[in-house]
Symmetry: D2
């Protein structure tokens, strides 16, 4: 399976993701709230980028794939955006706060990477740029959910549990199945998947250090 | 309102659409079934094209618009495709019949027009290429639904009534409202809307004459 | 070689192109001038479309291919447009006449086909949509240049000889060589190449019948 | 003039570019050679990205603009790539060294920024993402060329003088003139131009610190 090969090739990066302090402290409840707040506000621009990338991929795909991709994109653009709004509200933030947040360098780089890849490449290359995010969030949950037992931050717990839900598992499974239909040049897919994985790591690092533009 | 201006500028073309023999005979029940069968089989490629075009538009749009466009695209890719499948079945046809149907010249031209326009232009130019189809189907229903009373062809009646449904009216209203948010060069939008309207007329003509490639 | 396979599969269409009355009468000098005038004025929109399509292909290609494609696109956008302007002038026409000419249905369909294909597919799929035009013009010259001996129309002769020039032969050779580097799904390339060939035939037919929109 | 407004709004960033140690030491000759070597090897991926972005912009533009953009893109893809190859050779490097160089984070982010912007936006938004690079190199030369007098590094001198050549000045002038034809939303152009300017600064910083992926 292509997805397994990709996963294997990215293992060293993913292992560092699983143990990144942002991730571990988020699950254990020790993450300073201002870091979480930063992360959530940055997440908006990334979510929009994901919707754009899925839209481009859908335009290029065979219809059966297109239907599934559009369903995911729509879910992101409606349910996910709605969930996101609710989360903001629980944190005493509004969508306007998210919209006017300056997109940090790593975030901007990541978003432009998934959009460029989806535009320049074929549908599977686009998918390979998006899969590390969706898939690694599930794996993070699997590896770290036991930490939730001692977590006393309700917002962190609620955030984390979404990635352990049956719906989320089904979504990731669907994306993996689509990836496994890929034909052609594995090397290209591999390079894209590794870059996406690097950006996943960098995104956690960005949030932990609350990265800002230096200029 | 931009939509009203576009509609006015396209009036001569639309009037010819409303009275096209395919349209009138379909509503009155006199349309030879082989012409309807041809039309329905061609419709598949057009539906796929619409989904692709909406996907491209969504990728370029502000997020609020993106969400609405994706909802429409997804509905086309799931509900509409499902309705389409059921209609085929009532006609003793299958999706395979539709998929292997050779796309007729006018249909191919129309599909490539909406895709090119959505790719080369901005989101409103893309919308202007798609609106004549959705909108004129509603107007056709308004003008011709009275003919259904004497129509004895259950398949034609069922097909027509979809365009008189509240859901369909709401969809068209949504698209018109999006169109009215357009800014910038009206001339470009006008040219696109007129070409889309011409293709609508040409599509009915294609179906009535059961157009084939001459080579 | 992929190009040879494509050429073989398109043979029946190409044979009809070679003997199309527009082509034969153009080479023999018997073509009514108003048909040639129509053809030349339509050619403008097609030339622009070719430049757009090559640009899209260039954006997706490996750099060595990109360089060659851009050289061709630039040549079309400068030398060819300049040659075109001179030809117009010899015919007592101006660029403004060409620009304001309404693009005929077949021409618009052809242009949107090459643009959509270049955007939705990979670089080789884009090339496969453009190759039938360039290549068939060379083959037309090979098969019909003997007719030029009795041709007394200086404008037709000058127009035709361009396609027998060393530069043009080298250009076609370059495009064929690029095509032969294609990897992957031959079926897709074949379908595109055949559609492009059909549009070539349809373009000659459009010019011979001086096609207009019916609406 | 739009270009003047953009330039003014970016002034604080540009001033920091003009005095960036990489820039100053390159002109004065004091830049450690390994930093220059790093910069030149990274430059390859950026140059390819510029060619891709110009290609996308060309596909969307009116034909007169298209011709100029393609001329620039082609020049980049041929003359510039050839000059680049010669420079590599003088530094005892080959194109293979450049091609196999891992693209650093800032470089990858910059390239994907210009490609995404050119794809998602209109032709002027694409241009606004590319202009800071071309224009600031000319301004750097104007402000720092006096330092070349004491510079004893022939490679640095030769590199710098290219940006003081008449050809380069004409190229920048052409791009500025195209930018000044922009219509519509200045805010969007401004945001893009500022981001491009930030990436310019970041690129110099990347080279000075010889940035690597941390994962």
């Amino acid at each position: 399976m292509i997805s397994e090969k990709l996963r294997n090739d990215a293992r060293p990066i993913w292992n560092r993701i699983f143990s990144h302090p942002f991730v571990v402290e988020l699950y254990s409840g020790k993450l300073p709230f201002e870091k979480f707040r930063y992360y959530i506000l940055q997440d908006y621009a990334y979510l929009i980028g994901v919707i754009r990338a899925f839209s481009i991929i859908s335009a290029k795909s065979e219809i059966e794939i297109s239907g599934e991709i559009l369903e995911i994109a729509r879910m992101e653009a409606t349910t996910e955006i709605e969930n996101y709004r609710k989360l903001l509200n629980r944190m005493n933030l509004t969508m306007e706060d998210a919209i006017k947040t300056e997109v940090a360098p790593t975030n901007l780089a990541y978003v432009n990477f998934i959009i460029s890849t989806s535009f320049l490449g074929n549908e599977y290359e686009g998918l390979a740029s998006l899969l590390p995010c969706f898939w690694s969030y599930l794996e993070i949950w699997k590896r770290n959910s036991h930490l939730l037992e001692k977590n006393e931050n309700e917002i962190y717990i609620q955030w984390a549990k979404e990635y352990g839900s049956k719906e989320y598992q089904a979504l990731v499974k669907k994306l993996i199945n689509l990836m496994d239909r890929a034909v052609g040049n594995y090397e290209k897919l591999r390079k894209i998947f590794l870059t996406g994985s690097r950006y996943e790591y960098a995104f956690w690092e960005m949030a932990y250090t609350m990265e800002r533009w230096h200029i």
